[in-house]
């Protein structure tokens, strides 16, 4: 599916940089700002022409192109009758990560079908729990399966039904609930689960901090998702969050991988961390040099990361 875009919107570069909330792309540093705008514009043009298939491609592209007349209908068509989304149109296995991402992408659209779709998606998400939330599995993890360190009483969302909670689907589900202003006790439970799974040195991986007595290494994208989910939960000032932000800035200091850089930049910008300018330059270079081979999901998250004012999932508007 290629995006249909109204001609009047082509060339729109986003909001006035003077309304920058975080100050990370500072007015006055004209060259940096112009570079941001030019690169983002290139990415959006490429994104409009690129076919999207997977839910992550479609959802992130819709979000990136929300001010360019992108149509939410293709994403709505991919919703399952259960209310969930799967990874791809032909895959009927429901997936919490993709469902949360679809909800975030649909948030700016104030249409009746979108609200109906969101109601059904939140109902599905509310029912889905990590398998460790059942007392029987909690008992098993406490008594026998003790090689992986985690508190089974703290659960969030699994990727797919029948598995335990992991960081990425939990973080995105929390962001979706908050973006849509839906109250749920699951948000606080998800926050506790994410804090429990943090790597001791800072950062998060998929969701195991220690296995067989060995501390595991964090990964940039999961770390970014986790700190974004914690930002408005009253835990944004915790030491673990700031250690994790420092980890992101240091870990990617020489990287040119657009996926990790873009997620990290969104997270660092949301906290006003000082490492954003350097990462922005790396993201621009890494994306423009490979713009013809990068998939829509990566281009779209790069475009979001380069938005000014800084993009946040919870306050996304058209």
């Amino acid at each position: 599916m290629a995006w249909t875009v109204k001609a009047s919107h082509i060339g729109e570069h986003g909001p006035d940089i003077r309304r920058n909330r975080t100050g990370t792309c500072i007015v006055g540093e004209v060259a940096v700002v112009e570079s941001c705008v030019a690169v983002r514009s290139q990415i959006l043009e490429r994104l409009k022409a690129l076919p999207s298939q997977g839910t992550e491609d479609v959802a992130l592209s819709l979000l990136a192109l929300r001010n360019s007349g992108a149509d939410p209908t293709p994403l709505l068509r991919q919703q399952h009758s259960s209310g969930a989304w799967g990874a791809m149109p032909n895959v009927d296995l429901p997936n919490a990560y993709h469902t949360a991402l679809a909800l975030l992408a649909l948030r700016p659209y104030q249409l009746s079908p979108v609200r109906d779709a969101a109601d059904r998606a939140f109902a599905w998400l509310s029912e889905l729990r990590g398998r460790e939330s059942h007392w029987l599995w909690q008992w098993k993890f406490r008594l026998f399966d003790r090689q992986v360190r985690f508190d089974p009483a703290k659960s969030g969302w699994p990727w797919v039904p029948g598995t335990v909670s992991w960081v990425a689907p939990t973080a995105l589900a929390m962001l979706a609930f908050r973006a849509w202003r839906r109250e749920s006790a699951r948000i606080a439970a998800g926050r506790d689960m994410i804090l429990d799974r943090a790597c001791p040195q800072g950062g998060w991986n998929a969701g195991n901090s220690e296995v067989f007595g060995v501390e595991l290494d964090p990964h940039p994208d999961f770390t970014a998702m986790a700190v974004l989910a914690l930002r408005d939960s009253g835990h944004g000032r915790k030491a673990i969050v700031w250690r994790s932000l420092d980890y992101l800035a240091a870990r990617l200091s020489t990287s040119r991988s657009p996926h990790s850089l873009a997620w990290a930049l969104i997270a660092l910008s949301a906290y006003g961390h000082e490492g954003t300018d350097r990462l922005r330059g790396q993201l621009e270079a890494g994306t423009t040099s490979r713009i013809w081979v990068l998939p829509p999901r990566v281009l779209a998250v790069a475009a979001l990361a380069l938005e000014q004012p800084a993009f946040t999932f919870e306050e996304v508007q058209r």
């Binding site: 992550e56 990874a87 990727w159 998929a206 060995v214 290494d217 990964h219 940039p220 990287s255 990790s260």
Partner: protein, 324 residues
């Protein structure tokens, strides 16, 4: 009969039924060849792999002319301190050798189980640099490939369907290229366990937790029954012992292993590691798919006895040690 004994009886019957269900060997459709062939070549440096790979293909030829070949290395995550991934220089040597033998195309494909950013892993591991240097072979991220529904055949898992990558299923020849490592859940991770990387993370998540809940051994067998591995090239130049697959120390085994049967390949790797393959559960369960028995494996190149070393094992696996 009181209520307690009734419940106990029901629990016992259910547990027994589940145990029988998950151990039933005849569920795996047999495709075991009469004899399998394995070649072991000494090689103690990765810069020597071009020559070693040529020697391996001479000892154990593989017909690839006009075929689309898929190389499935073991890419998990990068550490400068541990030999986690199949070495990029070996992968490059194999690509080069396959093109020299007339392969129509050679693609390297994997879906890392721990990381979503495969680009980052390709750059940090050095594989992207090697692919760029070879120039004729691209990488397909199986975590995000188009998928096709495949019906499970063994009944060992509760999965109604498997979603598997189109690129993998459309290849003419699949070569599994594991790193020879111990594994803290499965004892060893070799050419069969390497199949976890074909399961798409975009569908199932990271890590591929569905497979753990279905039982790691059961899932390995289900994947092995669903996806034929035509050839194996195992990286044993720098292997891993102890707490694999990520945190064990390097074990310099100093060899490459070529095989035309993944079960025979893994059985021989186990013997090289000082492990009795007949005691490794997932290998027992795949005995219908290939040859575990040393008398059914034609050995070429170096003998097992001359190359094998005793690998350190986690305490839960020390009972699997074989005669060294």
């Amino acid at each position: 009969m009181n209520r307690r004994s009734l419940l106990s009886g029901v629990a016992l019957v259910a547990t027994t039924g589940l145990a029988v269900h998950q151990h039933w060997p005849s569920r795996v459709l047999g495709r075991r060849p009469h004899m399998s062939k394995v070649a072991i070549l000494r090689c103690d440096r990765y810069d020597l792999t071009p020559r070693a790979v040529e020697d391996g293909f001479r000892l154990l030829p593989l017909s690839v002319r006009g075929k689309r070949v898929l190389l499935k290395p073991n890419l998990v995550e990068y550490s400068s301190a541990a030999p986690i991934n199949t070495h990029p220089l070996l992968i490059a040597s194999v690509i080069d050798a396959l093109y020299r033998r007339g392969a129509a195309s050679v693609v390297v494909a994997d879906g890392p189980g721990h990381v979503r950013d495969t680009d980052l892993l390709l750059y940090e591991s050095g594989l992207q640099a090697q692919l760029d240097a070879v120039g004729r072979s691209g990488f397909v991220d199986l975590n995000f490939d188009s998928v096709i529904r495949v019906a499970p055949t063994t009944g060992l898992t509760q999965l109604r369907e498997l979603w598997l990558p189109k690129t993998l299923l459309s290849a003419d020849i699949v070569i599994s290229m594991p790193k020879i490592k111990t594994h803290h859940w499965a004892c060893v991770t070799l050419s069969l366990k390497n199949l976890f990387g074909i399961v798409p993370g975009s569908v199932y998540g990271w890590p591929k937790n569905v497979l753990h809940w279905q039982g790691i051994d059961n899932s390995i067998v289900e994947l092995a029954a669903s996806v034929p591995i035509h050839y194996v090239i195992a990286d044993g130049i720098e292997a891993m012992e102890g707490n694999g697959p990520l945190h064990g120390p390097v074990k310099r085994l100093g060899c490459l292993l070529f095989a035309d049967d993944p079960v025979a390949a893994d059985a021989t790797c186990c013997r090289l590691m000082g492990i009795d393959p007949t005691r490794v559960r997932h290998l027992q369960m795949t005995s219908q798919l290939g040859n575990l028995d040393a008398t059914r494996i034609e050995q070429r190149g170096e003998g097992v006895e001359h190359v094998k070393q005793q690998f350190d094992l986690l305490p839960q696996f020390t009972h699997l040690r074989g005669q060294v």
